[in-house]
Symmetry: C2
Subunit: 279 residues, 2 copies
Amino acid sequence: MNEENASHARGPIGIFDSGIGGLTVAAAIRNRLGNEDIFYLGDTARVPYGGKSRQTVERYSVEISGLLLAEGAKAIVVACNTASALALEKLRSLFRAPILGVVAPGADAAATQSKNGKIGVIGTRATIASGAYERAIRLLRPEAQVSSVPCPLLVPLIEEGLLEDPITDLVLARYLSPLLEKGIDTLVLGCTHYPLLKTAIARCVPGVQLVDSAENCALALAALLRQESMQNPDPARTGHFRVALSDSSDAFLRVAERHLSLPIGEVELRSVQGSSPVG
Amino acid sequence: MNEENASHARGPIGIFDSGIGGLTVAAAIRNRLGNEDIFYLGDTARVPYGGKSRQTVERYSVEISGLLLAEGAKAIVVACNTASALALEKLRSLFRAPILGVVAPGADAAATQSKNGKIGVIGTRATIASGAYERAIRLLRPEAQVSSVPCPLLVPLIEEGLLEDPITDLVLARYLSPLLEKGIDTLVLGCTHYPLLKTAIARCVPGVQLVDSAENCALALAALLRQESMQNPDPARTGHFRVALSDSSDAFLRVAERHLSLPIGEVELRSVQGSSPVG
């Protein structure tokens, strides 16, 4: 490893999401790569991205990635399915740092794990409309039958902390029964919030394998850092974990903290106002 | 009326909301003041405001109001309960045009109409946390017992078009039964989306008077224009109705159009990126 790499390998992993949902990805990365520093930036001033246009999601993602690079991030994890689906190409065209989304790792895992090739995908309206999971799954497994359902009510339910609740079960049954009728054996949780609903979802689709994009993204990141020789050189250390938000108010932060056992202490406030638009 | 007033009286009424919910207010104003032009601006690029901090809501409201004034708006209606609760004072300190929110008209109507002085208020998390309705009701009726409940799931349900649905009824029962137990005889629908749920809400709280802030805001605006001699001088004309959004994608627009019988044709796109922050 040359000197530039050695210094660069000490930078934090920059993770961003439109809000707090990406903390499921941060938790999975921390579990797998405990010696890496993590800087998490949640764009809570403009959350959610899920219903917004490609152009707007691209602009926000570029701004937020710029803030992460300014913090010395050695790699950027787009811990937001909507931004991964809509903005990854744009980010890679602008920035040199390795950039990893959550769509490809989840799609690859689903394509590999499904036995009958019938795969369900759930996500926000924007993620589903983008067709990103479908395309990524078909790259590996062209004959796969992918059925996608937008589930716009799940994020609000999760953010209210209704993880075990008859209302949530009723909403899940509404969204998921068409997928069961299609005979899926694998279901991609295509939104970083959804791992918090894993238990309720599993109860609703018994026998179906759940693909958690957070977990698969952490695996892909570990492989990427190895490949680029960008791992933190000290394997014994405990990485720092910093969280910054673009708006001070987020009730869901405490729901996430409780359920993900993340050491979220002081939360920093970052303005996204001043950042200049690119592209 | 002098010449300046006469020219100024021809400007449109500027209405803004964080998104599309304020169209219920636009519809009420159009019903009552059909000869006035209306320019509606929905900040769909940053929707919702309901969970954001005062500082952020103030900044967004100032930016959007600036865009309305640039369109020649003669008065500004803040058709968003969150912005009315958090940003009205800031707007009035910066701009000379008459500025009207939805909180005071709704609160006044509730204080006047309630028989037993027990008044319920439902709204977003930010509106309820601000205590704005409670304060405004107590101004007129200091002994009123005001009970407030944040209902963060209602906007997503409405935006999904689930206006008549068992899931919505279950959610409403959860939110409203504590208010029934308190013996309220009047319920303020403290969010501009909620008039679309009026039927379902009325079914859930039989015998309780519903106060629709959209309707009361239109009444207050008519009085304000009269008082300031700012009515459009031609009572026979049919006003234009223009809608602009800060993001192109909004599925809820068609739900609102269908249920409010508003003539929403072409929707303009307005960038909020370039607008300079004030205050």
